[in-house]
């Protein structure tokens, strides 16, 4: 009996100890660091850590330190949406600009133009600043920009194509279906990767006034082109996805790929990769223009130290820190000054991104744009993958998006 009592009390105290260690502590230091969430991996992560170190070890002046938290990419947006409105989110976070509209409308991110000056804004490439604007406000400072490029395997493609006619010709030469070799690979059923053709043929999604233009002659022409290169006599392997793009390109099965900076990290070092801006569409003479996305550092609307937060944002996106990121992580940074640096200029890959930037279209970060992806992807599925006719598929996509727009809000579309 006695021993049992002893045991119970021992168990109880053990439970208390366990609870005490597992229950989150309430004690918090006075000088709490600014919390910064990001989804960077590998070199980009290392470079960011370096810049944060620079802030923490002196750059910060009287401002609080920064504490980083890496959040897995695919959980990031949901985590922000769940945590921030309830006051558990970070002070700052880094993410692509495509949700700026939603987050601004839901008051998750803070407009920061109050602290901006024209001189400060001038340090960034205009397109990257544009991407982070919503309405009449600015919601973040740009870190880097991302767009797709034409990557090519230097061993297989000595002379990379500069027009779509070239692309077709070179691609045909390189394609050998029996051997599983193809000329070009890209995620052809996704609007993001189809966008270069759409813009190159003169199409668009929204016009300046926010009117929807999914179903247009140019869009049909672009889709027909994509169907031709992806078809049974084309140069793109069947069932291409982003993962497949990297896989096939990395293993030399396909000589050219339309992909972005995220692919570079996965390629083996011995693969000789070249990168150039996407080709000119021969039938229109226009450049194939990919979407440009900006990665921005944004401020939570619930942050308690906004002035401090802005100082940190400004530091992390300063010319010096941007140059550090460009060199260490080969990141296409958003600061103009970094592109004047000789090391950056000498980097062929970075230069290709910079060259592409001129022919890239800023992707809209509006809530309306987010309604477009899924119906448009479905149209691409039908036409480019399934081989169906383009016009009715696009008309249906236009109809669907219109319906989503109407059911989600009466009218208001941001230019």
């Amino acid at each position: 009996m006695f021993s049992r009592r002893l045991m119970t009390s021992a168990l109880r105290s053990l439970a208390l100890v366990v609870c005490a260690t597992l229950w989150p502590g309430n004690a918090q230091a006075e000088d709490k660091p600014l919390v910064l969430w990001h989804a960077y991996r590998v070199q980009e992560r290392a470079a960011l850590e370096k810049t944060v170190d620079a802030w923490n070890t002196g750059g910060r002046g009287a401002h609080p330190k920064i504490k980083l938290l890496a959040v897995p990419y695919d959980a990031f947006a949901d985590k922000i949406t769940a945590a921030t409105p309830r006051g558990h989110g970070p002070d700052l976070f880094i993410f692509a600009h495509d949700r700026v509209g939603d987050w601004a409308e839901s008051k998750i991110i803070e407009p920061i133009e109050f602290w901006m000056t024209e001189k400060h804004a001038d340090t960034f490439i205009l397109k990257t600043i544009d991407a982070l604007c919503y309405g009449d406000s600015l919601y973040g400072l740009p870190m880097a920009f991302k767009s797709t490029l034409l990557f090519y395997n230097k061993k297989l493609v000595p002379e990379p194509p500069h027009t779509t006619d070239d692309l077709w010709r070179v691609g045909q030469q390189l394609t050998d279906r029996k051997a599983g070799r193809y000329g070009l690979v890209y995620d052809n059923a996704k609007l993001y990767f189809h966008a270069p053709w759409l813009h190159g043929f003169g199409g668009m999604i929204f016009d300046e006034r926010g009117k929807l233009h999914i179903s247009s002659k140019a869009a049909v022409a672009a889709m027909n082109f994509a169907r031709k290169i992806s078809g049974p006599t084309g140069i793109v392997p069947p069932e291409s996805t982003s993962t497949l793009t990297t896989t096939l390109f990395a293993h030399g099965k396909v000589a050219m790929a339309i992909s972005g900076p995220w692919m570079v990290g996965e390629l083996k070092k011995d693969l000789e990769v070249g990168a150039i801006p996407l080709p000119i569409v021969s039938s229109t003479g226009k450049r194939a223009a990919p979407f440009m996305g900006a990665e921005g550092i944004m401020m939570s609307a619930k942050s308690k130290r906004k002035a401090d937060g802005f100082a940190a944002m400004k530091f992390l996106t300063s010319d010096k820190m941007a140059l550090l990121r460009a060199k260490a992580a080969r990141q296409p940074v958003a600061n103009k000054a970094a592109w004047l640096d000789p090391t950056v200029k000498a980097d062929a890959l970075l230069s290709a991104f910079y060259a592409q930037l001129k022919f890239a279209k800023v992707m809209l970060g509006t809530p309306e744009m987010r309604l477009v992806w899924s119906p448009y992807d479905m149209a691409l599925q039908k036409v480019v993958v399934g081989g169906g006719p383009a016009a009715p598929a696009l008309a249906e996509a236009q109809h669907e998006v219109q319906r989503f727009l109407e059911s989600s809000r009466k009218g208001k579309v941001q230019p």
Binding site: P85, G87, D102, E105, S106, K107, I108, P111, E113, F114, W115, M116, T117, E118, A121, I129, C133, G135, D136, S137, L138, G180, P237, P238, E239, T243, L244, A301, K302, S303, K304, K306, A307, P367, R370, L371, W373, S374, M378, Q381, K382, V385, G386, F404, S407, S408, R409
Partner: protein
């Protein structure tokens, strides 16, 4: 006898009390979400809002002078009132230099906004909002970081152009705490006390005392509700009157009538009342008696029940409620049955359209049936083979065979997707070796469906195998021995002895397995991704697309979820009935 009474009363009280507490908690949570839209606290502030609106509304050109005059007149009554001018930067649409044209702090007139001041940041943002809205705003929502509430802000025009913004801002006390929590808790406590008293001191007078308690409690709730809502209404009327006086008849007053706090009261208190009344009168006595009688059973259930109520039931109720709302940028509007109508009417799409609800439902049911059948058959067959005690290496087989279940399915699903690739996939490779045509797996519904099912069967059979292995142990060996003596053929032994005896242990796995398969998101999303044209999507992936890919329509997604729930509910009812037949038979 007496002890039984006490336990009974205690349990009743506990039940009623916790019902009240749970509903109070629910109300509290809902109120917390809407608490940011505070009720206008005092008429004085409402007048200030009206003033700012008038600055803009005045028909005779509302100039800076009017604004200035307004500021000077009200400088004492208000904490901050300012007029900010904003010449625009020509280069960046978001950049504006802002300085004070007028302010009740005379020192600041003519000065530029201070970048270190949170107050100035708030003024700046208010001016921005007015500018982009192009109309006066009553911004009652204050951000949590500061307790600076903008009461009102309005554009000031000069020569027909937006020239400045008049802003009334206050720094009130902490944002109001949503009210309805404590009275409800108090009601719960009161109930508890009454029932306790009744049981302890006057078993005979019990009914009277309980009745008194209920009357008292409902009276109190009524008083409290009416008190609060009266105060609210009075405040609102007052405010509206004030606004109307200053504005003339028409003003945009939508913001004022949108406070949801009374909603919490209207739903919360009657709910708590009904539950506790039911507990006390209709079912209360019987329940008290049975609770006393079965107290061990209930005690055993309490820990699991409590955990479930808190972490599963509460979110579940929230999810159910969400189905009746429409979500837009973090705000929810009640839309009644609209979401359900949109889904159940098929959304104007023909029945054969992959986005039509009934099409997806059909696919989902087929998907579930095929999968569960395969899981159970394969799992059971393997379990039967692997339970043979004389079989060598059975432990190793078993351990290897659970690997599909053990490995994170994100990567294995992608491996399977790769194996089904037209050109490079293993499956087509094998088909070619055998001499068959290659199949383009994701270009038609049937093949995409087969690819999904194959992957999910691969993932799912180990679980059923493990369950069946455990379940097989519940069959006493002598049953088989008897059958062996009788010389019954194997298949007969299986269908007439093994299977019926396995049923109670397999039944939950089958029912839950079908529920999980019905809601199996990852495989569909990663393997076929709905290809072609969304036809291989099931209900849960549809719901996901509505929630995350078609404009954050959480309400519609929740409505989908609710429909999924109803379908599964009826399914399990039927399954339950079937199992009871087998249990009895």
């Amino acid at each position: 006898m007496k002890r039984k009474h006490i336990t009974g009363a205690l349990l009743t009280a506990l039940f009623a009390g916790s019902a009240v507490a749970i509903s109070a908690a629910a109300v509290y949570l809902s109120a917390l979400n809407s608490g940011e839209k505070a009720i206008i606290e005092s008429p004085a502030r409402a007048y200030a809002a009206a003033l700012a609106l008038r600055v803009a509304k005045d028909a005779s050109p509302p100039t800076a002078q009017t604004a200035l005059a307004a500021v000077t007149q009200n400088a004492k009554a208000l904490e901050h009132i300012s007029v900010v001018v904003e010449p625009r930067s020509t280069k960046y649409r978001f950049l504006r230099k802002r300085r004070f044209l007028a302010a009740n702090d005379a020192k600041r007139v003519g000065a530029v906004l201070n970048k270190q001041s949170p107050l100035d940041k708030r003024l700046y943002d208010a001016a921005s909002s007015v500018r982009s809205a192009g109309k006066p705003l009553l911004e009652l929502r204050s951000p949590q970081d500061s307790n600076l509430t903008v009461l009102a802000a309005a554009p000031v025009m000069r020569e027909g152009k937006h020239y400045a913004t008049a802003i009334v801002i206050t720094a009130p006390k902490a944002p109001p705490v949503p009210a309805p929590a404590w009275p409800l808790f108090a009601c719960g406590l009161a109930l508890f006390a009454f029932a306790l008293l009744a049981a302890l001191f006057a078993p005979r007078l019990r009914h009277v005392l309980v009745l008194l308690g209920v009357i008292g409690m409902s009276g109190f709730s009524w008083w409290w509700t009416s008190g609060v809502s009266a105060a609210y209404t009075a405040n609102l009327t007052h405010t509206l009157a004030g606004l109307q006086r200053t504005l003339g008849t028409s003003g945009s007053l939508d913001a004022l009538s949108a406070s949801p706090s009374p909603w919490a009261l209207i739903i919360g208190i009657p709910l708590a009342l009904v539950i506790s009344l039911l507990a006390l009168f209709g079912v209360g006595r019987r329940m008290a008696a049975s609770m006393a009688e079965h107290r061990l059973a209930y005690t055993l259930l309490i820990p699991a029940g409590l955990g479930m109520a808190l972490l599963v039931l509460l979110p579940f109720v929230y999810g159910l409620a969400l189905g009746f709302f429409n979500h837009q940028h973090g705000e929810y509007n009640f839309v009644g049955l609209k979401n359900f109508v949109e889904i159940l009417s098929g959304g104007d799409r023909p029945l054969s359209h992959p986005l039509n609800f009934y099409f997806t439902l059909g696919v989902t049911v087929l998907w579930t049936a095929v999968n569960v059948f395969l899981h159970v058959t394969i799992g059971l067959a393997l379990a039967l083979v692997l339970k043979d005690p004389l079989l060598r290496f059975k432990g190793i087989y078993r351990a290897l065979l659970i690997l599909p279940w053990a490995m994170p399915n994100y990567i294995t699903a992608l491996i399977w997707k790769g194996m089904f690739h037209y050109q490079y996939g293993a499956v087509n490779h094998v088909l070619e070796i055998v001499g068959l045509e290659k199949v383009s797996w994701f270009s038609s519904f049937s093949t995409a469906f087969i690819a999904n099912v194959t992957t999910n069967t691969w993932l799912g059979f180990p679980f059923m195998m493990v369950v069946a292995l455990g379940a097989l142990q519940s069959i006493p060996g002598d049953v088989y021995e008897a059958a062996a003596v009788d010389g019954a053929p194997r298949h007969k032994v299986f269908f007439h002895i093994t299977l019926p005896l396995l049923r109670p242990a397999l039944y939950p796995a089958i029912v839950l397995g079908s529920i999980w398969t019905f809601n199996m998101f990852n495989i569909i999303y990663l393997v076929s991704a709905g290809a072609p044209n969304g036809s291989s999507d099931i209900l849960i992936t549809e719901a996901y697309r509505w929630a995350f890919q078609r404009g954050d329509r959480y309400g519609l997604a929740a409505a989908y979820a609710l429909i999924i729930f109803v379908v599964l509910f009826f399914y399990s009812k039927i399954a339950n009935r079937l199992s009871r037949v087998s249990e009895d038979g």
